[in-house]
Symmetry: D2
């Protein structure tokens, strides 16, 4: 039976002295295979990933595991307990406004000297040294900063220290009200086909503070730095195999254990493809898979204040000119005529898009992010 352990990681403390803790579950792999790090609930309202980790643990109880797997639910104990009214404050530190998923660390200046020192070494040595240097860099930040760390950095860096020890990293998120979609580094596009997720965002080699970027960008930069010297160091090769994904599971503020079981199987399909688990039970579904590049993933901001009846269905192409939403403005009702002051306004775009998610509330200000859509999308697999 799978070797299992649990620890409680101390990531901070509140004004009353209450400890902020995160549970860490570890499954010991019994072979030579990539190791995996999966976390959930970095954004407070995005809870479904916890249910997916539950179902993963239930499924993995009776699975032969070759690579080590670390699972971290409730990754952000401030966020997941922070209520404002009935809802959970989703995305940012309530004191500072900083997005909880923009606080990870990557100092690109470590790459060049590391490459110089590594010339002539074999891939496995380079890999081990680079892991060590990344972990050391995080530990320096955690322990040797006389001016201290923000609350969010202290949490993020401790999670990142765990993530750097793994080869494959999955950060489980959700949208506000959302279809399932996957953030995937451009070089890992083939892996996207193993998740039961019909929409893939291809992201470039640019660090913007998120966990997926913090874990794949260093390796990708490393590969590029070697390539500039004419040295091949392929992080996509089977013996290195560094991949990170942000998995958007659907809508926030919801737990559905049945859907979570499907999502857990989708993740196991990917892990089986990567030989982390020793089974052939989990096959990806046949799906039409759409993709677009991150630069083409557009937020559409409301052109007016009002109350929104969201019309566009998620996940399938919406023709140019077809309405995304109709916005009600009951301060503008006129009985005698219709026209400029009509209280119903239809909003649409002049190009074909795939709606992926929309805002969590019907009430929007002028400038609230109404929808996020794929533009210039293409079919990855049919």
């Amino acid at each position: 039976m799978t070797q299992f352990s649990k620890e409680v990681m101390h990531v901070g403390e509140m004004a009353s002295g209450a400890a902020l803790t995160v549970p860490v579950y570890r499954l010991k792999g019994e072979g030579n295979a990539p190791s995996v790090y999966i976390q959930a609930n970095m954004h407070g309202a995005e809870v479904q990933g916890n249910a997916v980790i539950f179902q993963l643990l239930e499924l993995l109880r009776n699975t032969n595991i070759k690579g080590d797997i670390t699972l971290v639910p409730y990754a952000n104990p401030v966020g997941c307990n922070h209520k404002n009214g009935e809802y959970t404050l989703g995305r940012f530190d309530p004191i500072t406004g900083v997005n909880w998923n923009r606080m990870y660390h990557f100092d690109e200046s470590i790459i060049k000297p590391f490459v110089r020192d590594s010339i002539g070494k074999d891939d496995k040595t380079i890999e081990a040294n680079f892991k060590a240097i990344m972990i050391n860099s995080i530990e320096q930040k955690l322990d040797h900063n006389i001016f201290g760390l923000t609350t969010g950095q202290r949490i993020a860096y401790q999670l990142q220290r765990l993530a750097h020890q793994a080869d494959l990293v999955l950060d489980l998120h959700t949208g506000p009200i959302s279809s399932k979609h996957l953030y995937c580094p451009e070089y890992a596009i083939e892996s996207a086909k193993y998740f039961d997720i019909p929409h893939t965002l291809l992201i470039p080699n640019e660090f913007d503070g998120a966990l997926d970027e913090a874990t794949f960008c260093p390796w990708w930069k490393l590969e590029q730095a070697f390539a500039e010297l004419g040295i091949k160091f392929s992080i996509s090769s089977a013996h290195l195999n560094k991949e990170s994904f942000t998995v958007e599971l659907g809508s926030q503020e919801q737990i559905d254990l049945d859907v979570a079981l499907e999502d857990a199987k989708s993740i196991l399909s990917y892990l089986q493809y990567k030989n982390v688990i020793d089974t052939n039970e989990y096959q990806p579904q046949k799906l039409t898979r759409y993709a677009c590049y991150l630069k083409d993933y557009k937020a559409f901001y409301s052109p007016m204040g009002g109350m929104v009846d969201y019309l566009a269905e998620f996940g399938k192409p919406l023709k140019a000119g077809e309405p995304l939403a109709r916005i009600l403005r009951m301060d503008n009702y006129h009985f005698e005529e219709k026209g400029e002051a009509d209280p119903l306004h239809y909003v649409s775009l002049d190009q074909e898009v795939i709606p992926i998610l929309h805002f969590a509330s019907a009430s929007v200000n002028q400038g609230t992010e109404l929808y996020k859509v794929f533009t210039n999308f293409f079919i990855l697999e049919e």
Copy 2:
């Protein structure tokens, strides 16, 4: 064609001096019929009533109207524009915590002297005098208070001044995530059958600050005070006809104009029954209608903190012992055994109930209101 007018009511001002305004739409009736007051969105997140008012106006454009109808969307301009994170702060003044729908006014001490003065007068005179005294009482509060009014009182009293001018009052609300249900004074139970709403709460003659109570309790107390003197003054009689309802339209944070059209028709079915509109187009649907008394409408508070997969369907009887929800506690996962620390907890009640609504978020603290349920319910109509 229906006579229509619109005004903008000034109900307060913000720190920057920005005016808080509420649009008031009036339709002029052309006959001798009860007058109607309908408002929506007193709680910030409960927006669907605005869409119902839109559909009512659309339907009433071409309807013969006998009684005056006043419609007030966006009744609470503080609440409906107040965001905390992505959601609208629902239920209370963000500064004081006071529920926006507990600020209306009724001073019961006006009843006894009024009754003494009214002995021997005819019903219509009494009605006119009592309306006047109620409106005067509100205007005293609005205009002659050296220590001032709270922000919420100033809004509520101005709405109440409009509502007191009508015979029939509908306050459009929603639950958090909710089925449709109706708060109905006990004496008006027959009217409940004309709404397309399968669940009715029967409320007693006790003022607790809400608009429906603030408008029907005075009349009911008046009827009772006359009755104590052996004088019949029936507010249910066709020539007096005082009724107030809080109409719970479904879930908050949502606008659905198609559903709003159905709800508008349901309200017109009631208004047709009351002869406010001159048509026979609007008939109530055949529904199994359940009712319970307010004292039997129970909130069930979560026995633990956790993340909730809500299981019980709304609106139909749930047998004793059947699960309402299962609560996930991923800090408690154990691999080797199951038992006391099992991360999934099922919660149920030991009596049959009808679940009516549940909390808006999957994340709950110990003691968060998980469900509200009818107990000791009965069938009003089948």
Copy 3:
């Protein structure tokens, strides 16, 4: 040396499973003297009481203690860790809006049957029985409620269970920006002179949900119920001695350990007067002490929105017509003339008052509570 013990009381749990705990410090008295319960920080932003408990413990280390003393800092672990922006959400449950200090319990219906059963018993037996019945009543609420308790009730009832075991109860609060003042039951007016607090509010025998009321009202009602039967049972007598106070220490969001030392000494002056401690070190300061009845303690709500320059000093009589504040409205500046649109508005009252506290922010809406003032005040001691 004083006998000291500490325990950690579990009062709830958050969505992540994080335990809500409260530290409870107990000092064992060595004589026949009243027992004492002191708590702080029930409202999240009102933190100074924690510092006062710190200083009390420092002073009591070397004091002979006759009555048992229980001290509870951080009484509300939800409130004291709840940030919205940079500030601590002060007064209410962020989910429901219910004031944390309106959730205590008193069921007056227990009084009459208890009195009937107690006729002929001696005071000490009655006292012991009544304590038992009050504690039992709370424990019933805590443990035997199939529909559960709210988050705030679960916290409040556990604190109340501790408080009922004491004779003297002090609940340490602060105002927003505030002078020191004391809520004192009318019958305990003499005790008010032993605190170094110049303003006393005399409160009647009416339960409104606060801890002081929840602990003195039952005894006062009991005294009255006996009195109605012509039986003397005096809770002010030295051998019964039931008193409860809400001590308002100054302004919220501030810790000042030096001021806390003064406040600790003021509390010890009271405890010395009550023979709880065996010393004569602590004498009340000579102060002009003002008092008013609770009905004369008035909130003054802003007559307009704007930005407030608070002018009136706390704690000394302000003549009728003297300005409380001037309110700036920069949207109304006119260069050519002054007059109706003058951007500076002075607000005053037409009676003499003593300003006690004002709102925490300069930005107010029309209807925000601007000041709280004593009206019809009188001098308690000069």
Copy 4:
């Protein structure tokens, strides 16, 4: 007498349709002198700048004005009306968390082509053309973006459009609890001596989204781009004279009209130095002025959760090792011994600093920004 005009600028609308407006006051200069733009209250809680604008208008009524002056109080109508509990949400959009003062626009790519096109033109022509191109760039963002703008961008860009029309820009802010300090571009260091502000932060030519940067960085970059071609275009010369400052007036959530008068005089001292006003009434105070570079302005994050007694005085050097604050942890009190669990923790730094501001609340989490301090500071003027 000074020519005065007022307009109301529409910067957005809320869900109810309520317009978001900003008052704009313009004073017409009567000579050849730099024009000035001054705004206040971009961060909701930072209200004192409105009072300073009031006092500026009062003083300028009777002053000969040579350059045009535009004054904008209440610059952010969302922020300044947004309450969470009693306080105003200070720094960020409550929906997105984005800092309101990081949303201005500067597209550096306009510089190089502009410089190429400007070779051989005179300074005044270049200046006029560059103003035009900056304003055009903002107007493109405002009016021609098919995916729309965020709520904050729409506000910021409209303010920025006004600011670009001026030569001298002052953005009035405050700290949380704070001394007065000034953000000053490095090249404008001489001007810092004309404000009555003892602490100056020298900021480099890097755009980070704030208004001061958005208005001086383009000019500085332009000067540098010309310099690279060996062409002198000095924005510090009397005939160009482009300067922008963020003026931190003290603490947030406070209006003090008397202090505002002093601050208005300090600003007039600067404007007199710049020949904007025709008077010699306003002379800077004799002050010891300290400065440090932005890279040396350090935030010190709390090493622990707790309740803070802030000890360090603002504005004067604090020796290495001297305490900044003591942090109370009442969950850790021990009676018998002192030592590791001592509830009082002193925090200090191992270098000399000048404390400039501290956090707004006594309650801090581990990682909350406790103090901001000048390190490596130097004396600008004695």
